[in-house]
């Protein structure tokens, strides 16, 4: 017994000594540690590489700062983010999506630190790009990129099969039918994720109505989904796309990687996806033939009076950063955020490395060495005459996001008629309004 007691005393003493020594070490170094929580786990390519590059530069310039990065893929990131918020232990600086379904609960519950808009006067953010990062007139985060949907296509597949690259919606349907007739999947689509189908539906609504606000009015229940002709017309368009096998077989079960690979391996002629895939043209995992032939067009508009054109675009500002309001090093974290988002840092390198289209003015950083795809995407964005804002599934509560994604998947899988889909959308919107 006595021996045991000695052992316990010894263990406690050692623990104490280790703690004290550790503490002194930290003090001696005098370093401030900033915890950085990122949704970009690949630190060797794409935006993750850029983020790490800027973090490393900041540490070089500020010897007293140590930045500890924790990075996870989107879904695990969101799960862990929730665990952190539940325990009120959010890291000092973290990635957010500037969309009501994700960021509103964080801003309204006071987890994000308020930022001073005056700090960003020279940052050249595009008008409206910080809307999703603001709540009750106060700013809580900064946007990283401009996200917009395009139709990537494989020039070689179009040329080899004598199909015209679509400029109008009718030509898109014709092209899809032509590819189907030749046994090629017209469009690669990740229906398992649901959100691309939600976005496509909204794009069709814009093209049917020429009205960017229509779908948001329906979510607010100022109008009904089920009673509106244009919302119904867009649903019928989507049904037609499914019926003519516009997407690859079993697209409902395909996840992001599966759809992307199908297009990259030249098994599908087109790919409806966001501009964040601007790296497709330099992805070494795909053949040289693909890399040389990938291009993009805006999703075509409809013909007729009052209809949306291809320049009425699905575009929004999604990813960005915020700082924890309970951070012990809040001031330092905000300084780091401001450094990363300086136009000569994020906007410049994001454009020049070809990893994203920034949410800030970037034309002063054009070098003439950009890839063809990058230039093409930039042209499409510059030609936009109207932009949508947050995709409708992300534009209300998290519950609405789940519901709207489930019903669009049921609709695309043929489990609901257009009318039933619209009625279900009304129900989801009403629930969200409560």
């Amino acid at each position: 017994m006595r021996n045991n007691r000695k052992l316990v005393v010894l263990l406690l003493a050692m623990t104490m000594i280790i703690c004290i020594v550790g503490g002194f070490n930290a003090l001696a170094a005098g370093k401030v540690t900033i915890k950085f929580f990122s949704n970009l786990p690949d630190r060797t390519a794409g935006m993750g590489k850029l983020e790490q590059f800027l973090i490393d530069n900041y540490m070089k310039e500020n010897a007293d700062i140590n930045i500890k990065v924790e990075a996870l893929q989107d879904e695990p990131y969101k799960q862990k983010f929730r665990v952190y918020t539940a325990g009120n232990q959010l890291p000092d600086i973290f990635a957010v999506w500037g969309q009501p379904a994700f960021f509103n609960p964080i801003m309204s519950s006071g987890y994000a630190a308020e930022l001073d808009p005056d700090d960003y006067k020279g940052y050249d953010f595009f008008p409206g790009s910080l809307n999703g990062f603001s709540y009750n007139g106060k700013l809580y985060g900064l946007a990283r990129n401009t996200d917009f949907m395009v139709l990537y296509y494989n020039q070689k597949l179009f040329a080899d099969n004598g199909v015209k690259v679509p400029e109008t919606y009718d030509e898109l349907i014709t092209a899809a039918k032509a590819f189907r007739a030749k046994g090629i999947a017209p469009v690669a689509h990740n229906g398992r994720d649901s959100w691309p189908t939600n976005i496509l539906y909204q794009d069709l609504v814009i093209k049917e109505s020429g009205d960017q606000e229509l779908i948001y009015k329906a979510i607010q229940q100022d109008i009904k989904f089920a009673g509106n002709e244009e919302l119904l017309a867009a649903a019928e368009d989507l049904k037609e796309l499914v019926d003519i096998e516009f997407f690859q077989d079993s697209f409902i079960a395909a996840d992001y990687g599966a759809a992307r690979n199908l297009f990259g391996q030249e098994q599908a002629a087109m790919y409806y996806m966001g501009a964040w895939e601007s790296g497709l043209g330099s992805d070494e995992n795909f053949s040289e033939s693909f890399r040389n032939n990938v291009s993009a067009v805006a999703f075509p508009g409809m013909k007729g009076e009052g209809k949306g054109k291809s320049t009425d675009m699905m575009a929004w500002n999604g990813g960005g950063y915020a700082v924890s309001s309970s951070s012990a090093v809040k001031e330092e974290a905000i300084k780091l955020l401001n450094y990363i988002m300086k136009p000569e840092n994020w906007a410049r390198y994001a454009w020049q490395m070809g990893v994203a289209i920034p949410a800030q003015k970037y034309d002063q950083y054009m070098t003439g060495k950009e890839s063809k795809l990058q230039i093409r995407l930039s042209e499409i964005l510059n030609n936009a005459t109207s932009i949508s804002g947050t995709p409708w599934n992300d534009a209300a509560t998290p519950g609405f996001k789940t519901d709207s994604q489930t019903i669009i998947q049921e609709f695309a899988a043929g489990m609901k008629t257009p009318q039933e889909f619209l009625e279900a959308a009304d129900q989801a919107a009403q629930k969200a309004q409560q």
Binding site: I252, A253, A258, P398, Q409, A412, A413
Partner: protein, 292 residues
Amino acid sequence: MHSFLQNRKIIFMLVFPGFAIFVFAVLFPIGLSIYYGMTDWSGIGSLNFIGQENFKNVLQDGVFWISLKNAAALAFFTVILQHPLALIFALLLDRVGGKSEKFFRTVFFIPCIISIIVTSKMWVNIYNSQYGLLNKVLELLNLGFLKQQWLGDPDIVLFSVILIMMWQGFGWALLIYYAGIKGLPEDVYEAARIDGANSFQTLFKITVPLLKPVIMVNVIWAVISSLKQMETIYLTTNGGPGNASQFLANYLYIKAFNSYEYGYGNAISVLFVIVCLITVLLLNRVFKTEEY
């Protein structure tokens, strides 16, 4: 010894650790779940007490019942397809003997030692409509008309995922039956042989009745794991298309962690525990009445 066990302090000391673990690891979380189930907590920020509202809503939630129905379907197919097959293979394995017995025993058990992530993703690829093995094999065999969108068609997706789960669990079922068969007394079989019983009679009059305790454990286990199913669904279809292949554990996860309806998710989990308890009670009763 007798006085030792009558000492209250000693009884307390012996019982307390186990009891404490039970309280903190089982009762306390269930209690907490019931409490959260009665709130509108989103998982973030403040919460309001709303009484039985969530529980009422869960019982009126179509997806809750679809998930239960799917679990019942999985349990049903596991019991009527996977288990008889596992039993037959266990018997055959026992008959084979020697090196091939060891070999096949290992082969059958391999799916169980591979991570569920790997086997689930493998099956997603097998089912793939463009390059998947299953459709390609059907084409090769001139059975192209049988080709399906295995995970994309709401009418067949449930059967596709049930097949995956049966495949994943087959090794366990077989191993338990095999162990049971190995433990059967040899003399009963000798006596049967002397009495002139044929192998059919031996199987149904001796092996199966003697294996009843093993069958009971195996079936209860299969039913409970069908109810609890989560990983395979999460990794293959996430309950889709729509909720056609939804299971309770996955649904409550979606509600609590994607929809930020943590209170509602907890209400589902409480009802889920009740369903599991009722099922076990019913199964125990079924097996009890057949005991002799």
